[in-house]
């Protein structure tokens, strides 16, 4: 046998299956050819960072029910129980029509304002097989206030009740704990108090969150309104900060803000409170999600 190397080779070849592959080798057999595309999930816990829109939509077929509540200002003293005697409330619904498109509407106690919106995920942050560094959504809403005319004597048009807001939401999830978002906004008011006031109001804002546990995060949000756009009243930048607490089916957001307004026009273009003066409002959002249409992938 020593004289015949071919024989030794044949022996090795045929006995090769005896050299049993370890389980790890067997596992290697199961390696995917293409790595899967991994979309960034849960950049924020719900559809609001604090008071403004986040990149998140309700999942396809899910309905999100959202109650937003702001108390009165803390600096109104004990007589007013530090704002507890007042409330502004918005009750809203949002629905995930597709994976990318959500629509929503709401009713706000501030001048009985109805609002409706569309939010569309244009780009999604992903890693793995395909990579993209951030998510981008477009948001557009229309708000109509429905209380009596302030000046009933003059000729009033329905369109004067309307305002619009357009936002580009750009967000990135950095690891599992930190998410940041930049939000340029434009508010258009059909009617403004004086001719010196701009109809189009631009703001640049953003926000973020840091998860302190798997169920709790600290969030903050800021919107800068460029000066010279709102002249007839004194308006300030909006700043809000709070915590998100997720308990299975609900997300509770408890926060402090200097904005009484609950829809975009209200807090972007009409924030009259100042943190430094104690015009701080305690508020909370309660989000509850209902599954209306079961995902196809689950059905048997």
């Amino acid at each position: 046998m020593r004289k015949n190397p071919w024989l030794a080779f044949l022996l090795l070849l045929l006995l090769f299956p005896l050299l049993v592959p370890a389980q790890e080798d067997l596992l290697n057999l199961l390696k995917d050819q293409k790595p899967l595309v991994n979309y960034a999930e849960a950049t924020f816990k719900t559809s609001r960072i604090v008071i403004g829109q986040s990149i998140e939509n309700p999942a396809q077929g899910n309905m999100l029910f959202l109650i937003t509540h702001h108390f009165g200002a803390l600096n109104t003293g004990y007589e007013n129980l530090f704002g507890l005697k007042q409330a502004a409330i918005r009750i809203g619904m949002e629905y995930g029509l597709t994976k990318r498109l959500a629509l929503g509407f709401g009713l706000n106690t501030d001048r009985n304002t109805w609002d409706g919106f569309l939010k569309y995920k244009v780009l999604r942050q992903k890693s793995g097989g395909k990579k993209f560094p951030f998510s981008l959504s477009l948001f557009a809403n229309t708000a109509v206030y429905t209380t009596k005319w302030e000046n009933p004597d003059r000729k009033n048009y329905f369109a004067s009740r309307m305002s619009y807001c357009f936002q580009v939401l750009i967000a990135r999830k950095f690891g599992s704990r930190v998410s940041l978002q930049i939000t340029p906004s434009m508010v258009h008011k059909n009617l403004v108090p004086t001719s010196a006031d701009h109809n189009d109001i631009y703001a640049l804002g953003g926000g973020g969150r840091i998860k302190i546990s798997n169920h709790v995060s600290i969030n903050a949000e800021y919107h800068h309104i460029f000066t010279g756009q709102v002249v007839s009243s004194k308006v300030y930048d909006s700043f809000s900060t709070g915590v998100d607490i997720e308990t299975g089916g609900h997300v509770f957001q408890i926060f402090l803000t200097n904005s009484m307004g609950e829809n975009e026009e209200g807090f972007l273009a009409n924030t009259t409170g100042r943190w430094g003066k104690g015009d701080i409002f305690l508020g909370f959002n309660i989000t509850r999600i209902f599954t209306i249409v079961e995902p196809k992938s689950f059905r048997k």
Binding site: L7, L10, L18, L30, T291, P295, F298
Partner: protein, 184 residues
């Protein structure tokens, strides 16, 4: 004399090759079910990867956590984000053996009891497991079936107090994987 050697080697070699067969699948199913006082949670994964070596009984599983589909999208998000931390631990694996592999005749159709022993890794935590299941051999395919329970605490999956009534501490796992011969 030399000729004898060649005949023996070839015969033995072919016999071994004949026995060593690998069965695989990329779309096996694993379902899990949690029943707590307030909520039933069920999820299914139909992209389970498995491989079985009939000669030795080596049996491995690879399961992508993000491939579990839930009835409620929010549960799925929480499963990946809060409990299994799927970005950190993207897959669960099982590396083990069917210890009674010698009792299973892969050339004869039928249902055979199988004892599976090995290491299950979920959420980055590895635990030894030993479970009974069945192997069904039919039309050149091998279907492995098992049903067992695991405890979340064993895999360091913590349940906050606020949802103790929503998530069971013990999860029932159902495995059903149909494997076919690996084409060499």
């Amino acid at each position: 004399m030399k000729k004898y050697w060649i005949v023996i080697i070839i015969t033995v070699g072919f016999c071994i090759n004949g026995f060593a067969q690998t069965y695989v699948t990329k779309n096996g199913m694993i379902r899990f079910y949690s029943e707590a006082p307030l909520e039933k949670i069920e999820a299914v994964n139909r992209q389970v990867n498995t491989a079985l070596l009939t000669q030795t009984g080596d049996f491995v599983f690879k399961v992508l956590m993000k491939s579990f589909n839930f009835e409620k999208a929010m549960m799925q998000e929480h499963f990946n984000e809060n409990y299994l931390e799927s970005d950190k631990y993207p897959e669960a694996t099982f590396l083990g053996k069917i210890t009674n592999i010698k009792d299973i005749n892969f050339t004869k159709e039928g249902s055979y009891p199988a004892i599976v022993e090995g290491k299950l890794t979920i959420h980055g935590q590895t635990q030894p497991v030993k479970q009974n299941g069945t192997l069904e051999i039919k039309n050149d395919a091998v279907t492995a079936k098992a049903k067992f329970n695991i405890f979340l605490a064993d895999y360091k999956i913590s349940i906050p107090n606020t949802v103790v009534n929503n998530i069971s501490k013990s999860i029932e796992i159902t495995v059903e994987v149909m494997m076919t011969k690996l084409n060499k």
